[in-house]
């Protein structure tokens, strides 16, 4: 590691705008609520915000005008959730490099703008028709539509290779629903048993209804700054101890993990563990108190656990089914309920939950004495947060 980055940057403020099936609000209104809450959360004056990084919902230039900011660092990413982690990382790097003092990272979704859902050509970005199916490899002419089809294809391969069962997969959604019941902000709080999960209709087999994330409106603001500046604000800093980037290429698949043998990946039995995030953060897996795993579709939780070596290839489904990821289990996973039950917030809800857990603000779902929380995704992106 050429450059000591550990604990140089921090998240200082978080804000969650309205999250609901249909808030009746547009993106800018949703974002306004999230920004107001984030500023109030950390006691930062709006005039201090000099950076803005938009993931989705609006254009950064107009938003800076609407928020009345004078930004010296404005940036924008493609409107995809897997870029939420990289945006936090880039904001952290920019703050430490002195390009900005405080960067507000913004995500919003007004689902009515996307025809009320995904798949079926309603996607805001028309990604199904873009560059050979966009990042998920969708092919509408074959009826291979909706992002969930990629997750289903990856899960089928996994089940066929390792003998994982529908009952094991179902425990991802059941576990997270139980967590969501303890999260006042979650959309889906009604109790759900494995029998309920199995009785729900198949959508894209092997995935059933509750393997899919909720479809909703929502907005989030995460304010990133240097650790030094964060110490002067109202809430204790949540440090970015380590990170590693999103991976892309022929050995990656956005809804799988390397070696699975979907799309153009090489199929292999082993899984090389090349994860500098741990050394950068100075922690080992056994030090991690909780995992926030990107979960627009439940198989992603299984693939994330294996990609990062918490279990061996083919073992994650059984690991979850045995209760290891529960709040009272060996290593709690998605204590907020994740996209499956809290709501689809493109990975930003996961960043917020990491912050809440490390501040001790997670209420009934608090992981006792949480000191290290890891955000991760099966395509290699990760952030290790510490107190």
């Amino acid at each position: 590691m050429g450059w000591e980055f550990r604990n140089k940057a921090a998240v200082c403020g978080i804000g969650l705008g309205p999250v609901a099936k249909d808030t009746g609000l547009g993106n800018t209104a949703l974002i306004g609520a999230a920004v107001r809450e984030a500023l109030a959360d950390c006691g930062l004056a709006k005039a201090k915000l000099d950076g803005l990084f938009v993931n989705a919902g609006v254009d950064v230039d107009r938003l800076a005008e609407n928020l009345g900011l004078a930004c010296r660092y404005a940036n924008q990413a493609w409107t995809h959730g897997r870029l939420s982690g990289p945006i936090v990382q880039s904001a952290a790097l920019a703050c430490v490099a002195g390009l900005a003092d405080y960067i507000a990272c913004i995500y919003s979704i007004d689902i009515s703008e996307r025809g009320g859902g995904f798949g079926g050509g309603r996607s805001h970005a028309h990604e199904e028709g873009r560059e050979g199916g966009g990042p998920h490899g969708e092919m509408p002419h074959y009826g291979l539509t909706h992002p969930g089809s990629g997750a289903a294809m990856a899960m089928r391969k996994y089940m066929a290779r390792y003998g994982a069962t529908a009952e094991q997969l179902g425990m991802v959604a059941v576990t997270q629903r139980a967590h969501a019941a303890l999260n006042p902000a979650a959309m889906m709080k009604a109790p759900m048993t494995l029998a309920d999960y199995l009785a729900a209709r198949p959508v894209i087999e092997p995935l059933r209804l509750f393997d899919f994330c909720v479809v909703n409106d929502g907005a989030i603001c995460v304010i990133v700054t240097t650790a030094e500046r964060a110490r002067d604000l109202r809430k204790p800093p949540v440090h970015i101890a380590g990170m590693q980037g999103l991976r892309a290429g022929r050995e990656e698949f956005v809804f799988g993990r390397p070696g699975l043998g979907v799309w153009q990946q090489t199929e292999r039995e082993d899984l090389p563990q090349v994860h500098p995030v741990f050394a950068m953060a100075g922690v080992e897996r056994k030090d991690v108190d909780g995992l926030m795993i990107y979960d627009s579709f439940s198989p992603q939780v299984i693939f994330g656990l294996e990609e990062f070596g918490y279990v061996g290839p083919g073992e994650a489904a059984a690991w979850i089914a045995s209760g290891n990821g529960r709040l009272d289990g060996r290593l709690p996973v998605n204590t907020h309920g994740g996209h499956l039950s809290e709501g689809m917030l493109a990975g930003w809800g996961h960043q917020l939950e990491a912050v809440r857990q490390l501040r001790g603000e997670a209420g009934a779902r608090q992981i006792p004495d949480a000191e290290v929380i890891q955000y991760l995704m099966g395509t290699g992106v990760s952030i290790i947060y510490t107190r």
């Binding site: 199904e128 509408p140 002419h141 089809s149 294809m153 990856a154 066929a160």
Partner: protein, 136 residues
Amino acid sequence: MSQRPQPRITDDNRPHWEGAREGRLVLPYCEACARFFYPISPFCPFCLKAPVAWKPVSGRGRVSSWVVFHKAFYPYFADRLPYVVVQVELEEGPRVNGNLFGLDPGSIRLGLPVEATFEREGAEVTLPQFRARAAP
């Protein structure tokens, strides 16, 4: 009657669709690397050589994964539910997608031998598809 969503035929992928109209599965091929590749790209992913050659593949392969749709995200597919989309590992290496015809979804297995078949969709579009074949 609702129309099937159409593939986007572009300068980069036209030989693939022209081949399908003639009943051949045609994929990009790099002469320098002597290998086929997929997804379609105007240059070789291994050596970046352009332009690429286009050659027919055998059309034979094995099912490497599959999904079964029970929901019609496009109205066109409503009468066709449930339908199967397979990922096929071709003998030449690349994996491609298509619908699998003539087999009950419950009898599909990893490694099932399949071969290309062609579904005429209109004057412009013929879709490469797959059906089961006897193992060699």
